[in-house]
């Protein structure tokens, strides 16, 4: 009752703070965007007219030149194509007309689509009595500025996500955690246990109350058994984790472009495969770090390992910012991978240490949520930052963020620091037992690995290079990548619930693979940005359906093997094994691009995922426990 309601008080205040801040921020940002559009339009309209005058003068010169060769004005040939090319190249023009001295239109071309209002720009011909008359779209500048509104909406969305992450942290650090400690100690003392003191310090009214309670408890005597109580919560880890993953994700939108800038020939590898190599190595070392980092956590504790991880990653970001060529870049990227693996492992270990098996799954969702939201924000912010400060500057930003994560990580793991029991089964035995289970292996080979293959190939490799090749800026690349993470961030827990509640594991895995595959297969038909947008959104939707279900399915069909190695070991093995796809993705994608080009490569990757997804039910039907799916 009382204790429970008090414990939730901090979260309640955090929720209200976020809601109020979101509404106020939304209104103010909208006001700023509208003001910006109105202000900029006044300045841009004369510039549009100046450009139109240059176009009119250019057309006049060409026509004068033709007339100068002796061709009668009214009999000029090829004018339709000539004016068509001019109107296609200058989107601000609604129509072009060539008129004679009486104002009769001799030649004209109008752009498709109606214009609400136009301004006229007239340029007299020198070689004949007549003029070039341009109709300039009056709303051209405003339409261009609408991009400002769209940008504002996206930046606002990202800013609100950031605020949603930071505000609960601020409220919990300032109030929530201390209220929790106070409530817990008061309740314990009410049960006549006076040995527990409130370990948190505070200022103001809360500080006075804490000091008063501690003084009253001290007056009860028996100082020998005194224990300090500090409230800890899985949410304590959310902000450090969020900031660290944000730092890592900042470079997603441009990393292959950066590698291409530093490219130097690597014997035995094509340029495309070499560009994919740092991404593949990153994935490989994250997998290896995840496999072997657990032992460090057991010995050194989560706090210390997180610090090591951040320090290693920070050195990596510094190196990436100063990299000379692809060779030293590989080394720095490997450092960031090791740092990333250790830090994420430390966060998971922290959550495991302060939770019980009963609330651990829910607490881990806090962790997964932070990773996903950081990925959404990181891709978008990194893209915008790269446009503003360049690629190397973004790595500098990543370095600062990683160091900031260090300061937000809790300094202790709570009142009862317990080390988790070391699993007795050796790593080699775990992988051997799981790999020889046909059902488990089928799910890995036909669902988990292909999904990661498409993910790393499309998100980390193909999208930045393809959109960069088409001339899109890194902000657009970042926003495209954001499309993948959006469903993952906001619908992941719903589909996980769906998979468990209705036992839809196999159906969701097949449906997810099919959607992701079809979205990529559509690339050659859509081309360019639409192809990437559809592929990215399909991948996001497909994986949000399939990810949690793949884990459940693998555990269910490999039930015997999973019971032998233990569920935590099996889950860790799934995470490591699926990274085979992450490692192969960039290398395969790079090699395919060299042969088939961007769109066909995307379609081929989609085809692999689709075929694997459709084969999975047949593969499982032939296994002894296929019915478990």
């Amino acid at each position: 009752m009382t204790t429970k309601t008090l414990v939730g008080h901090g979260s309640q205040i955090a929720r209200r703070t976020v809601l109020v801040s979101g509404v106020v921020m939304g209104v103010v940002a909208l006001a700023l965007a509208i003001y910006s559009v109105l202000l900029f339009e006044q300045w841009l309209a004369p510039e549009v007219d100046a450009k139109s005058r240059a176009v009119a003068r250019s057309l006049q010169l060409s026509i004068d030149r033709a007339i100068g060769h002796g061709i009668p004005f009214a009999e000029l040939q090829g004018m339709d194509a000539f004016l068509g090319a001019a109107i296609d190249e200058n989107q601000e023009l609604h129509a072009i007309a060539i008129v004679d001295a009486t104002g009769t239109v001799l030649f004209s071309r109008t752009q498709a689509g109606a214009a609400s209002s136009t301004r006229e720009v007239r340029q007299a011909l020198a070689a004949a009595p007549g003029a070039v008359v341009l109709s300039v779209r009056a709303d051209y500048a405003r339409n261009k500025l609408l991009e400002v509104l769209i940008d504002t909406a996206i930046v606002l969305f990202v800013a609100l996500l950031l605020a949603f992450e930071l505000l609960p942290y601020i409220v919990n650090r300032g109030l929530g955690n201390r209220l929790d400690s106070l409530a817990a100690v008061l309740a314990t003392a009410s049960g006549r246990d006076f040995a527990v003191r409130i370990g948190d310090r505070a200022s103001g009214a809360l500080g006075r109350l804490i000091d008063l309670c501690n003084a009253k408890l001290a007056a009860q005597g028996d100082a020998t058994r005194v224990r300090l109580h500090r409230a800890t919560a899985p949410t304590d880890i959310r902000v450090p984790m969020f900031i660290f993953v944000l730092a890592e994700q900042l470079c997603t939108s441009f990393f292959p472009l950066y590698v291409r800038n530093l490219y130097a020939p690597i014997p035995g590898l094509s340029e495309q495969a070499a560009i994919g190599l740092p991404i593949a190595l990153f994935m490989l070392f994250v997998a290896l770090g995840t496999m072997f980092g657990g032992g460090f956590i057991g010995r050194a504790g989560a706090v210390r390992v997180f610090r090591w991880g951040v320090a290693i990653a920070a050195a990596g970001y510094l190196g990436l910012a100063l990299a000379h060529n692809i060779y030293d870049l590989l080394l720095w990227r490997i450092l960031t991978a090791i740092g990333y693996a250790l830090s994420t492992l430390a966060c998971q270990a922290y959550v495991a240490e302060i939770t019980t098996p009963k609330n651990r799954t829910q607490a881990m969702s806090v962790f997964v949520g932070a990773v996903m939201v950081a990925s959404v924000c990181g891709a978008a912010i990194g893209g915008v930052m790269a446009d503003l400060v360049g690629y190397r500057g973004v790595f500098g930003g990543a370095l600062l963020l990683a160091l900031l994560a260090l300061f937000t990580f809790p300094t202790a793991t709570g009142a009862d620091e317990q080390r988790r029991e070391q699993e007795a089964t050796s790593l080699r035995a775990v992988y051997r037992i799981l790999a020889t289970d046909r059902g488990f292996a089928a799910v890995m080979l036909l669902a988990a690995i292909p999904a990661k293959l498409l993910f790393s190939g499309l998100v980390y490799y193909l999208t930045p290079l393809y959109l960069g090749h088409l001339g899109h800026d890194t902000a657009t690349i970042g926003r495209s990548i954001m499309l993948y993470y959006l469903p993952m961030a906001f619908a992941g827990s719903f589909t996980a619930w769906l998979a468990d509640r209705y036992q839809l594991r196999l159906s969701l895995v097949v449906a997810g693979g099919t959607i992701a595959g079809l979205g990529a297969i559509a690339a050659p038909y859509l081309q360019g940005l639409p192809a990437v947008v559809v592929a990215m959104a399909s991948l996001g939707i497909g994986q949000v359906l399939a990810t949690a279900a793949t884990f459940s399915l693998a555990l269910a069909v490999g039930d015997t093997a999973v019971r032998q190695v233990g569920q935590p070991n099996a889950l860790a093995a799934i995470r490591v094994l699926e990274r085979i796809g992450s490692v192969a993705g960039p290398l395969l994608t790079g090699s395919l691009i060299a042969v088939a080009g961007y769109e066909k490569t995307l379609a081929l990757l989609g085809g692999i995922v689709l075929v694997c997804a459709l084969l999975l039910p047949f593969a499982l039907r032939s296994t002894p426990r296929g019915s478990a799916a």
Partner: protein, 248 residues
């Protein structure tokens, strides 16, 4: 420090930072649009000059011997007040030498001829130099498809820079005003959210200190009363209220 300040201050800082970021990005977008329009305008003028020069090259004469280039680049410069100079650089015979120049712009080649030739391979290029000049270049190609020269436009960007500064100053004032609104709204919201909590904590402190005139109105006050009874031994605590310290 009062709770509303302690929590409201950082909250306000996060929101104001987000607003400043939006303002900054809006100015950047404006700069991009303005630069896009300016380069597109110069490109139209330059395309005419390039076409005129390449038509002359079709006669088979080397770039240095063409008669009409000077008039073509003088005309191009006269069309646009922001074009301060137009240069034609030889990349064929006298490599890196300025063959024709119009206007009081740079009298030296903007880059080594090898660099210009490398840029020519990628078509048109542009580069903003440290003094605020925008240099735009296009390769001149002869009928045999060889790059024989480079047409370079030196565009003054001062007017645009002033416009961008103006826009930034305008928007900075608006962001400052909106930040004040944001701060005021946040302060009011935080005060309304946190003042009752703070009052409750003050009353709880009075209860723990032994003030019997304060009747408990909230959970924390009731808990404080139970606590005082327990430590003073004045009344048996309600067993149902006793609980272990929460781990969550």
């Amino acid at each position: 420090m009062r709770l509303s300040w302690k929590i409201g201050g950082p909250t306000c800082a996060v929101l104001v930072f987000s607003l400043c970021l939006l303002g900054f990005l809006n100015v950047h977008k404006f700069e991009q649009l303005l630069d896009g329009l300016a380069t597109a305008r110069v490109r139209v003028t330059a395309a005419d000059s390039k076409a005129a020069i390449e038509q002359s090259l079709a006669l088979g004469l080397p770039l240095a011997d063409l008669q009409n280039i000077q008039s073509a680049i003088d005309r191009a410069r006269s069309f646009d007040a922001e074009i301060v100079a137009v240069l034609v650089v030889d990349l064929d015979q006298a490599r890196g030498e300025i063959l024709y120049a119009s206007g009081p712009g740079p009298t030296r080649v903007p880059a080594p001829w090898q660099a210009l030739q490398a840029r020519a391979g990628h078509g048109g290029w542009h580069h903003l130099d440290a003094s605020g000049h925008l240099l735009m270049g296009w390769p001149l190609i002869d009928p045999l498809d060889r790059v024989v020269g480079m047409l370079v436009f030196d565009v003054l960007r001062q007017r645009h820079a002033a416009m961008i500064d103006d826009a930034a100053a305008h928007l900075a004032r608006v962001v400052a005003a909106l930040s004040l609104v944001l701060a005021a709204a946040t302060a009011i919201a935080m005060w309304r959210l946190l003042a009752p909590v703070e009052r409750s904590l003050e009353r709880a402190a009075l209860i723990v200190a032994g003030d019997d005139s304060t009747a408990p109105q909230s959970d924390i006050e009731r808990l404080a009363l139970d606590f005082r009874h327990a430590v003073d031994g004045t009344a048996p605590p309600d067993a149902s209220r006793a609980a272990e310290p929460s781990q969550a």
